[in-house]
Symmetry: C2
Subunit: 301 residues, 2 copies
Amino acid sequence: MTLTVVGSIAFDAVETPSGSRDRLLGGSAVHFSIASSQFATTRIVGPVGDDFGDDEYAILRRRGVLTDDVEHIPGGKTFFWAGRYHRDINQRDTLQTDLNVFEDFQPKLSPASRDAEVLFLGNIQPDLQREVREQCTSARFVAMDSMNLWIDIAHVSLLETVARVDCLVLNDSELEQLTDEPNLVRAARRALELGPRVIIAKQGEYGSAMFTRDGFFGLTAYPTGDIVEPTGAGDSFAGGFMGYVAEHGGDADDATLRRAMAYGTACASFNVEGFGSERLYDLARAEIDARVAELEASSRF
Amino acid sequence: MTLTVVGSIAFDAVETPSGSRDRLLGGSAVHFSIASSQFATTRIVGPVGDDFGDDEYAILRRRGVLTDDVEHIPGGKTFFWAGRYHRDINQRDTLQTDLNVFEDFQPKLSPASRDAEVLFLGNIQPDLQREVREQCTSARFVAMDSMNLWIDIAHVSLLETVARVDCLVLNDSELEQLTDEPNLVRAARRALELGPRVIIAKQGEYGSAMFTRDGFFGLTAYPTGDIVEPTGAGDSFAGGFMGYVAEHGGDADDATLRRAMAYGTACASFNVEGFGSERLYDLARAEIDARVAELEASSRF
């Protein structure tokens, strides 16, 4: 099945204890599609400026990502983010955020993008997420991300969007903020009442948890000792997760969703082992499968 | 097999969003033994003052905990701790700590306590932990806890003690502090080089992780929505873990250790559902088994 992702395309500048990079290909839709393209043909929808060139397109296309709906804004500059990671790599400071062309982003989907059976609404303004969702009438499984900003300033719109998706993927703290419920289990139960049949809480270095009306699935992170730069780990997780769902027909029963979480976890673990999503650029599917097998062995008792 | 635990016996005063209690039976050895006694005969070694009376002994004895080595210090007062939990129950402030009789604690083990095949060295000064460890010559599986205080002020002694145990159980942040390594996987690898063949990282609300020379096991916390008061959750975890090891002969192969982690996780989940360890006072073994079965189902994919 085909997969469409809408979200940010960016350049990131990062400082880490093991080195700095001043122009990394980043953005939620990029990290997502680099991972999801391992499993399903992925169309990426998002805006770029004049500074986004052949090198960047080449990276996406090498992974088979379809870039027809990357919208070039003449005279504009691509979204830019700069951050500094601490010695504890789970801590970071944002140094600069320039929205640039992302500020006035109005997603324009080609017929092919609208026909996707699986759709991921990356972290953008919830009105826009809803517009995209309405256009994709063939979608059989729709998931969305969001962030604390939209929970704060666009709460009502966000709830309307949440009501129209199958799966909500948020950081655990965002899920607690959205539902005003400091206990994750209660927060997830409330979120299920908002409409989605699947709630996924991303827990960073600790792993992830899935809540459905029928039950719970918890998976610890893949234990990597080689963390270089974790920007985009959550987006890689979502990409692996949604890619696996698309690969398996979009039915997304419990067994498929659980295995999709493991694929997301494996993709995230590769993401953090390099700058940006570079570790995934030339990754073989077999390497991901091997980590999923390791996760299966290391979670069984 | 019999199990001996050395550690604190305390009265706790706690404030939580759902109520306050000013005199709860607490302390690491108490939380531990209330859990471990579900699985194996447990002897508790620790000091109490004149304020520790028949009611407190009755709680321990009702669970079959052997209290012969509870040392009554005439004229003394029992260790007292007071804390306030936030709305996010994973955050707390310590309001008061009175070591009282615990300050000059010198563990005295009866022959029966020394004969235990399974030994847990609760969080006390590492010289004392080592003295106890040396006395228990029959012990086949020895685990220990510690804390940031001893890592700071008794580092060399702590390393000597760590070298003499089979299993080190620490919070993840303590493990990273002990090894001066901000990545948990690397921290665990370094800790394995210090002597123990098993390193367990407690990760609070997220679960726990076990590292051995052969591999890794990760288990998320049991998803309870009814958290009342979490003091002693880590000690209940250790009690369930060590109790299960003692029940299964102390051999502690990988399969036993994994299942023991699940039993520890289940005990911790009951602990947080009431004040102190009250939720475990009258708990049936079948209730624990049921949660372990749920954990098994919710971690499999």
